[in-house]
């Protein structure tokens, strides 16, 4: 058995960042906006349909860019009565099963986000 570790991709990315850093940052931010929007859409689709407020007005996305890079926060807000009902839906209570709609989207995003950045950046090579 052997393990082959290929660093050529990293070297290529380092060269690209040196040559096209600002462009890569812009494209990465565009990918962040796109994936953040997709995560929000997936969370809305997965939210329980018997709580229409949550799927229509309860989930938001906020994307920002700072010196550390691009960030996308997908979050819920209190319901119209001011209760944090989304957390009780996501995780359940002492007697009610969880109905995961948001946290599970991170599993999808773990693969989708790097792929979206690669799709944007690769044409620069």
């Amino acid at each position: 058995m052997s393990v082959n570790i290929d660093f050529s991709e990293f070297e290529g990315m380092a060269d690209l960042l040196r040559a096209e850093g600002p462009k890569v940052a812009v494209l990465t931010h565009a990918a962040t906006i796109a994936v953040g929007g997709q995560v929000k859409a997936r969370a809305k689709a997965a939210a329980p349909q018997d709580r229409p407020w949550l799927s229509t007005d309860g989930i938001f996305v906020k994307t920002r860019k700072d010196e550390l890079g691009s960030h996308s926060d997908i979050f819920t807000v209190d319901d119209p009565e001011g209760r944090p009902s989304a957390i009780w839906v996501e995780y359940g209570d002492h007697n009610t099963p969880p109905q995961p709609f948001l946290a599970i989207q991170s599993q999808w995003a773990e693969a989708a986000y790097p792929a979206a950045i690669a799709a944007k950046v690769d044409p620069l090579r």
């Binding site: 957390i87 359940g92 209570d93 002492h94 969880p98 599970i104 599993q107």
Partner: protein, 141 residues
């Protein structure tokens, strides 16, 4: 192809938590004595729920590797009791070799999301719950 047997993985989690002395519910509140007793004692409990996970693998066997996620809803009558249950669940599941599933190698159990206690007023009297999630990485043995 050797797809993960979901039932066996869930059984292993429930069996492990039961073995360390926890009162365990399998997808629903436990059937053995739990909660507030007539003599004012309170028996904390945990309920195990499977949560959607992910599957991966090689080109030949695309779904052989499984990351299965379970939520352990830990319930106590006080913050401390609730966190005590969570500590017991962590101690039971997280060490290497804690879970065995026939035909599978459990590579790792890791805490996907932990900590945080909420007061649950849907119970009378109110209880405290925490809802850690555990990711079990399983591959064919």
């Amino acid at each position: 192809m050797s797809l993960a047997n979901l039932r066996l993985h869930g059984d292993a989690v429930v069996a492990r938590l039961t073995a360390v002395g926890l009162v365990v519910g399998d997808g629903t509140a436990p059937t053995t004595a739990y909660g507030l007793r007539s003599d004012d004692t309170f028996i904390p409990w945990v309920v195990v729920y499977p949560v959607p996970g992910t599957f991966d693998g090689t080109l030949e066997a695309s779904w052989d590797d499984a990351d299965l996620v379970y939520q352990a809803t830990c319930v106590g009558d006080t913050r401390a009791a609730c966190m005590g249950v969570e500590d017991m669940v962590n101690a039971a599941l997280l060490p290497a070799g804690s879970l065995t599933v026939s035909g599978r190698a459990i590579q790792q159990v890791r805490l996907d999301l932990g900590g945080g206690v909420r007061r649950d007023d849907t119970a009378k009297p109110p209880v405290f719950i925490s809802t850690p999630r555990y990711r079990i990485s399983s591959t064919p043995a």
